[in-house]
């Protein structure tokens, strides 16, 4: 029977597994596979498992519960080993690495910050900062038929938007970095200029959130920040 793996923890983690709901319909029960001072939280892999919302939420729910009771290395969703013995063998193979990471991440949580800037606000800035863009904007506004000029305008604006997005992402990320242990900058999604995860000591979480709030305040009304956490440290394993 293939084995679905949720997380790796230290052997001293209390692992309240009976309270947790695993992936699958009906959910498969969880069990701990132990080796070398580590435990893999696992369950039978449901046949035909895909990235459906219920199962992704179940995976996340198990990890959120585990992280409350001790250091937890979250597995990526959907990881399936051939059987329990192979999971135990994998724990043994990487035991040193896993123990080291558990020690590093102990007492830490992840916060993910995404930020968007009002597009009209940004475009207004782009247009007023460049005489060339302003001129093209006026020309294409007057003559809707000029396709090439419109493409040229759009391309210039797109380039400016990308540059400014990157600059603002760097600014925000570096301003918040001192309040966190580590950070992980990722590609922003559509609509966003910033997508960054921070590893934060649980005891400093309030200070970190206050720093984010301060930065959001400083940026003003044209910006919307979405801060999610505390999360299992997905970006730092």
């Amino acid at each position: 029977m293939p084995t679905y793996v949720y997380a790796v923890t230290g052997a001293d983690h209390p692992l309240p597994l009976h309270d947790l709901t695993g992936v699958g319909d009906p959910p498969t029960p969880l069990r701990a596979l132990r080796a070398d001072g580590l435990a893999a939280v696992a369950g039978d892999a449901p046949p035909g498992l895909r990235a459906k919302r219920r199962d992704v939420l179940a995976h996340q729910g198990v990890l959120e519960a585990l992280m409350r009771d001790g250091a937890t290395l979250p597995m990526r969703f959907g990881l399936v080993g051939p059987d329990d013995d192979e999971v135990v063998a994998a724990l043994r193979r990487e035991a040193d690495v896993y123990r080291e990471r558990l020690a590093e991440l102990d007492g830490h949580v992840e916060y993910n910050l995404k930020a968007v800037r009002d597009e009209a606000d940004l475009l207004r800035e782009v247009v007023s900062d460049s005489a060339e863009i302003r001129q093209l904007n006026e020309q294409t506004r007057a003559d809707e038929g000029d396709h090439d000029k419109r493409v040229a305008l759009g391309e210039m604006v797109a380039r400016e938007v990308t540059t400014r997005h990157q600059r603002e992402a760097d600014e925000v990320a570096s301003r918040l970095a001192p309040a966190a242990t580590r950070s992980h900058l990722a590609d922003p999604g559509p609509q966003q200029f910033l997508n960054v995860s921070f590893l934060v000591p649980r005891t400093d979480a309030d200070t970190f959130v206050a720093a984010v709030r301060q930065e959001a305040d400083r940026r003003g009304d044209a910006y919307a920040f979405t801060l999610t956490g505390p999360l299992p440290p997905y970006s730092f394993v």
Binding site: V5, V8, R50, A51, K52, R53, V56, L57, G61, E64, L73, M75, R76, F77, G78, L79, V80, G81, P82, A90, E94, E110, V116, R117, D118, E119, A120, R124, V126, V127, S128, N137, R141, R150, V151, L153, G154, E155, V157, G189, P190, Q191, V212, A216, D217, R218, G220, D221, A222, Y223, F225, T226, L227, T228, G229, P230, L231, Y234, S235, V237
Partner: protein, 144 residues
């Protein structure tokens, strides 16, 4: 300023919570064990690539050009007396609304994909309602 703080993906009454905001973390990060197989995420991976292609297309350029043409350049910078109007304008046509116009298709598509094929009863009947419940937590349901 706007700061929406979300505790975690599974809390809250909406069921979907803010799963959408942490989806990439759950699907793309986290620990992997070499040689273990991964369940198929094919649809989701393809859509992520699509997002990047769309950003540098002529279609995007034309939409940016149109957005600039439509801009009221004066409203953002002058006359405090217009402040209320500006705020009103931003509420209607703000970042989420407008950039959704430029790139929203891909977002909708990913959102659709994560709901799977809706072959189990727990999942919500429509992707729109799922997005709304997620958005409602961010107090932007009025823009949907």
């Amino acid at each position: 300023m706007t700061l929406v703080q979300q505790s975690n993906a599974t809390a809250g009454g909406s069921g979907s919570g803010n799963l959408y905001d942490v989806l990439e973390l759950i699907l793309d990060r986290g620990l992997v064990i070499d040689a273990f197989v991964r369940v198929s995420l094919v649809g989701i991976e393809i859509l992520k690539i699509d997002v990047r292609v769309v950003v540098a297309s002529v279609d995007t350029y034309l939409r940016f050009a149109e957005a600039c043409n439509r801009l009221d350049l004066e409203s953002g910078r002058k006359a405090p007396s217009q402040l209320t109007e500006i705020v009103g304008d931003m509420t209607e046509n703000g970042a989420k609304g407008k950039s959704k116009g430029v790139l929203g298709g891909a977002v909708e598509a990913i959102s659709d994909s994560i709901q799977g094929k809706r072959d189990d009863a727990e999942e919500e009947p429509k992707k729109r309602s799922a997005r709304k419940s997620a958005s409602g937590r961010k107090a932007k349901g009025d823009e949907e």
